[in-house]
C-alpha cells in the first residue's frame, strides 16, 4: 500500500513539475529562435562555394542535457509494451537538439556563419535493469567562419 502511495506522489510530481519545466523551456527556445534565425547555419561546407573570403574560422559547439521525469518514464514503460510513437521522448530529444543548436549559435555571436553543422545525440542512462533512458545529451558543432562583413549580399 505504501508503495502505491509513493508511486502516485512521484508520478504526480513528475507530471506537474515536468510539464511546467517543459513549457518554460519551449517558450525560451522559441524566443531565442526568433531572435537568431537571421544567423545562418548550414550543413554544407566546402561543397558549396562561398562568395566572400574567409578571414578566420573556429569551432563552435553547443550541448544540452535534458532529463526525463518520473511520469515520462512510466509512460515510456507502458509504451514499450504496446509499441507506437513514444511521444514522451520526442519532446525530450527535440528540446535537447534545439537547445544545443541555439547554444552553438550563441557561442559565436560575431561570426558570419556556421558551416558544416552536425548534431549528435547520446543517452546518459544510469545503469538500471529497466532499460530506462535517464537523460539525453544533444551536441551541436560546426565551423564558425568570419568573413568580411562589408558585403551583406551573398554569402
Amino acid at each position: 500500500m505504501e508503495n502505491l502511495i509513493i508511486f502516485i506522489v512521484l508520478i504526480s510530481l513528475g507530471y506537474f513539475a515536468g510539464r511546467y519545466a517543459e513549457k518554460r523551456h519551449y517558450e525560451s527556445i522559441k524566443a531565442r529562435e526568433k531572435a537568431s534565425f537571421q544567423f545562418p547555419m548550414v550543413t554544407f561546407g566546402k561543397k558549396v562555394p562561398l562568395e566572400n573570403a574567409i578571414q578566420s574560422a573556429e569551432l563552435a559547439t553547443g550541448s544540452a542535457v535534458i532529463s526525463i521525469d518520473y511520469f515520462k518514464r512510466v509512460l515510456a514503460h507502458l509504451r514499450m509494451l504496446f509499441g507506437g510513437r513514444l511521444m514522451a521522448y520526442e519532446t525530450l530529444v527535440d528540446r535537447a537538439r534545439r537547445e544545443a543548436v541555439l547554444r552553438m549559435k550563441e557561442s559565436v555571436p560575431n561570426s558570419t556563419m556556421i558551416i558544416n553543422v552536425r548534431i549528435e545525440t547520446s543517452s546518459i542512462s544510469k545503469s538500471e535493469n529497466n532499460n530506462s533512458l535517464g537523460s539525453v545529451e544533444a551536441f551541436a558543432y560546426g565551423t564558425a567562419i568570419y568573413t568580411d562583413q562589408s558585403e551583406k549580399e551573398g554569402i
Binding site: M1, N3, L4, I6, F7, L10, I11, Y15, R19, K30, E33, K34, F37, Q38, F39, P40, V48, Y70, F71, K72, V74, L75, H77, L78, R79, L81, F82, M87, A88, E90, T91, V93, D94, R95, R97, R98, M113, N129, N130, E153, G154, I155
Partner: protein, 262 residues
C-alpha cells in the same frame, strides 16, 4: 547563392500531445487486460484444485511448515494437548478426507490461526488467551478445517503466484508500475479470500453443531473480537477476511437458515 532567413516554427518533431490522456489510456488498457487474465486464471485454478492430491499438497506444505519449527511448543504442553484433543473431537464428525492433520501452538501474542498446506493447523498463543471456553476454540479449529476441505490455501497459492510472476515478467522487479498493479490485483484477490472465509465459517458452524449439538462458541468469539478490533469498517475491504460485524451477520443468517439450536 543568397541566404534568405525565414522563421520556421519548428514544432514538427514534437507536436502537441496530451501525455495525461495517453497515460490513462495505456495504463487503463493494461490494467484491464491484467485483471481479465487474473480472473480467467482464477477460474482455471478453481477447476484444477479439486484434482490436486493430498500427498502433493503435503509436499508443498512441508517447506512452509518447516519455517515454524523453532517456535513450536513441546507436545506435552497443556495448550498443545488441549488443541489436539479438540481437533480429534472434531475429526470424528468431519467429512472423510485423506488428510493427516497436525496442530501446533506457537508462542506469540498474535491473535490468529492459520491453515498451511499439508494439513498443518497453527494456533497462535494470543488467540488461546482470548478464548474463554472450549466451544470457541472448537469453532476456530473447525474454521481452519473448513479451509482444508475447501482447498482454499491452494487456490490462494495459485493466484498469488500468477500475480507475482506476471508482474515481474512484464514490468521488471522493483518497478513503480509493478506496485501499482500488484496493489490493484491484491485488492481483487481480497474479495475472493473474503468469500473463502465465509465458506470456512459456514463449514465450521456445521461441524460445531454436529460435534457439540449447539453453536454456542461461534457468536461469542466474534463479538469479543469485534469489541477489541480497532480497524474501521472501510479498511476491511483490503484485508483477507471480512470485518467481525459482517462475519457475525453472516453466521447469524446461517444459524437461522439451518435452524441450529443456540
Amino acid at each position: 547563392m543568397k541566404f534568405v532567413p525565414s522563421y520556421i516554427e519548428g514544432d514538427e518533431n514534437a507536436p502537441k500531445s496530451s501525455p495525461l490522456k495517453e497515460f490513462f489510456t495505456l495504463a487503463g488498457g493494461l490494467l484491464l487486460i491484467t485483471v481479465v487474465l487474473f480472473v480467467v486464471l482464477g477460474w482455471v485454478s478453481e477447476l484444477i484444485v479439486p484434482h490436486i492430491s493430498t500427498d502433493l499438497e503435503k509436499k508443498l506444505g512441508s517447506t512452509i511448515a518447516s519455517q515454524f519449527e523453532d517456535d513450536k511448543l513441546l507436545e506435552s504442553d497443556d495448550d498443545a494437548l488441549r488443541v489436539k484433543r479438540l481437533l480429534d473431537r472434531l475429526l470424528k464428525y468431519a467429512p472423510r478426507k485423506e488428510y493427516e492433520f497436525f496442530i501446533w501452538v506457537i508462542n506469540t501474542e498474535e491473535v490468529n490461526a492459520v491453515a498451511l498446506p499439508g494439513g498443518q493447523i497453527i494456533i497462535f498463543k494470543g488467540l488461546l488467551e482470548k478464548i474463554e471456553n472450549d466451544n470457541e476454540l472448537l469453532f476456530v479449529i473447525a474454521h481452519e478445517l473448513g479451509h482444508f476441505y475447501n482447498r482454499d490455501h491452494l487456490r490462494g497459492l495459485g493466484r498469488g503466484l500468477t500475480l507475482a510472476v506476471l508482474s515481474t515478467i512484464i514490468l521488471g522487479q522493483d518497478s513503480g508500475l509493478s506496485s501499482l498493479f500488484t496493489g490493484t490485483l491484491t485488492t481483487v484477490d481480497r474479495k475472493f479470500s473474503q468469500e473463502q472465509e465465509s465458506n470456512a465459517d459456514k463449514f465450521a458452524l456445521e461441524l460445531l453443531h454436529k460435534t457439540t449439538g449447539s453453536i454456542k462458541g461461534a457468536m461469542s468469539f466474534f463479538e469479543k473480537i469485534d469489541r477489541d478490533e480497532q480497524l474501521s469498517e472501510i479498511l476491511y475491504f483490503f484485508t483477507t477476511h471480512p470485518s467481525p460485524k459482517n462475519r457475525i451477520k453472516f453466521i447469524q443468517q446461517e444459524i437461522e437458515k439451518q435452524n441450529y439450536n443456540e
